[in-house]
């Protein structure tokens, strides 16, 4: 199948190095301490953060840092065929673990000992790159909840099809069976905290694809900062400062 036309356009009309349109909205869940909706093209994810609060299960309490928990789920209607997925299948368990560890790395957990932070992410529409979208949404929600973090974490994916490196794969490109590199960076220090890759890719090509994904992450970071700044300005305005 041809994923890049001779004119250099992808299936949905993008250029190889072009990202889908991203949109973020803070404060989607009223009862949560922090929440956000993040969209990358047709992928739509909602995240809610509760905490820092008292540890629910006392045996899990950590005495010198906060306990971070994460739960990832996909809505039944999020994919093309509507089916009831068993809760806690292997894929979602793994993604929960990945999101939790990524977020744990940037939350200053030692400032909140003996407390618990819960992150819930749900995929509303899945069109490729759900993992990245979830991490971006979780970052926004954590920032909205006012949880101290050393940096934001932003994520983006990239792939390699028809010997072209493609940024931000959609579902069709993702399910083509080609390599899929998901990267999460700490934009201030430009260090990679999350890196996942599937399928086979020569080492030098991999470097290029990863570089492209990192560029994507930086673009997402710029946008997220804008959104957060706008949000803070509004809060300021409402308080009448």
């Amino acid at each position: 199948m041809e994923f890049v036309s001779p004119e250099g356009l992808r299936l949905d009309g993008r250029r190889p190095m072009e990202m889908r349109q991203i949109r973020a909205e803070i404060g989607a869940v009223s009862r949560a301490d922090g929440s956000a909706v993040f969209e990358m093209g047709n992928t739509k994810v909602i995240a809610a953060v509760y905490g820092p609060r008292e540890v629910q299960n006392r045996s899990q309490q950590i005495n010198d840092q906060a306990l971070v928990r994460c739960e990832y789920s996909m809505a039944n209607f999020s994919t093309g065929d509507r089916m009831r997925k068993p809760k806690g299948d292997r894929r979602s368990t793994e993604i929960s673990l990945v999101i939790r560890q990524t977020m744990e790395a940037c939350i200053l957990t030692h400032l909140m000992p003996r407390s618990q932070i819960d992150i819930f992410v749900q995929v509303l529409q899945a069109d490729g790159g759900t993992r990245s979208a979830c991490i971006n949404a979780a970052t926004l929600a954590l920032a909205d909840a006012g949880i101290p973090m050393c940096d934001l974490v932003t994520s983006c994916s990239a792939g390699y099809l028809n010997s072209t490196a493609l940024l931000d794969l959609n579902y069709v490109e993702d399910s083509a069976g080609g390599p899929d590199v998901t990267v999460g960076i700490l934009p201030k220090s430009e260090k990679v905290t999350l890196l996942q890759m599937d399928a086979k890719l020569p080492m030098d090509t991999f470097e290029n694809v990863m570089q492209l994904a990192i560029e994507g992450c930086k673009a997402v970071a710029t946008y997220i900062r804008e959104v957060l700044l706008e949000n803070t300005k509004q809060l300021e305005y409402r308080r009448g400062v």
Binding site: Q60, E94, A105, V192, Q196, A199, K200, M210
Partner: protein, 450 residues
Amino acid sequence: MEHRLANTWWMTVNEKKFIETTLLSDLRIDGRRPFDYRRLTIKFGRDDGSSEVQLGQTHVMAFVTSQLVQPYRDRPNEGTVSIYTEFSPMADPSFEAGRPGESSVELGRIIDRGLRESRAVDMESLCVIAGKLVWAIRIDLHILDNAGNLVDAANIAALTALSTFRRPECTLGGEDGQEVIIHPPEVREPHPLIIHHLPIAVTFGFFGDENIMVIDPTHKEESVMRGRMIVTLNTNGDVCAIQKAGGVGVMQSVIMQCLRIASVKAADMTSKIKNAVESYNTERALRKIKRHSSSAALDVNKPDVKLENQNQSVDQKEIGDLSGHHVERLKLISEERGVSHSNSMEGLRQSPEQDKTTRDVNSKGADFDVVETSLALHGALIPNTKLEESRREKPSEADPGQLLADLEPAPSPDGAVETGEQTNGKKTLVDAVKPKHKRRKKKSSNIDAS
């Protein structure tokens, strides 16, 4: 979650500090250098498709089994490979019985991605009838002891088990040509899987903020390290999978450096795995040669003892190390029968196992059948004893004649007695019993050998 807690619990602050500080000067608590692996031991089970890998103290067992199933609808002509992990609560205090935990799921997914998404195993060759029947390969990974770096050990275990696995040959038959006949391994030689390349997982641990990294972290190092990256590559320089789930951030240049180090390690590991598999295959082939050569002896079918003797002496060389053992057994048995042999086997040592044999024989009251089967086992050495016996016991006709008759067919594998002198009524019963005994005992002698 529990895994993390249990891990940090038993480590004191001092211990953790110590590990971190020594790493600053490139020292590790077990005396390795930062990019050294622990000692790798690969063992194979008796059956095809089972392996046991030890990486230092980490101990992982892998079993591969196959089954005919209906394929997935979107891939009608491809077999399936699935990986199941079993974290035994015995291996680590943080492992709990029951539902697989997060770390178990992650381990399975990493190995799964390395093996399946990089298409290491040829799936299309597992197809029997497109859309109806394909082989489903199941890999079971059992963690027996967790001393750190489970992923690498489990990955090697999975690869070695896969490379020694053989699926039974099957053909289509029946009236409509749609019926699948599975041939047992005794009838038709089972097929090995087609494996295109070996994706080797290499784990890096990151410590501190200065990005100190080590390869193959131990359990203690794992509880101190701030980040982990697992790189799966093959010898062609392809990256098959990467997993770095959060943790401390690393520069892009460091990642590329890791990849280069990992590719060297992967080449090293691949050669180790290939050597181990090759030696297993040679051993397996030798086992088979033995079987065939003894059946060749059957074809000779000569009543002449001396001719058979020649045939057997070739076998004897092949068996080599086993022979001493067999001689011992023979000796014991013959003693039991009260025939005092003053043969060359006297000086050999006596192991407890042989004692047991003696006792067995005792309880049966020097039953001839027992003697016979144990002789049948060790066909290689029989001729010598036999000759001696026949020489010795010629004067007394009744009993030794019977003995000789029983001894004669011993080397033949399925006990088909064809030599002229043994045509007596006892033969049929003996025939029925012998192959069974023989197969079982043959196996046991294989264990001794391995």
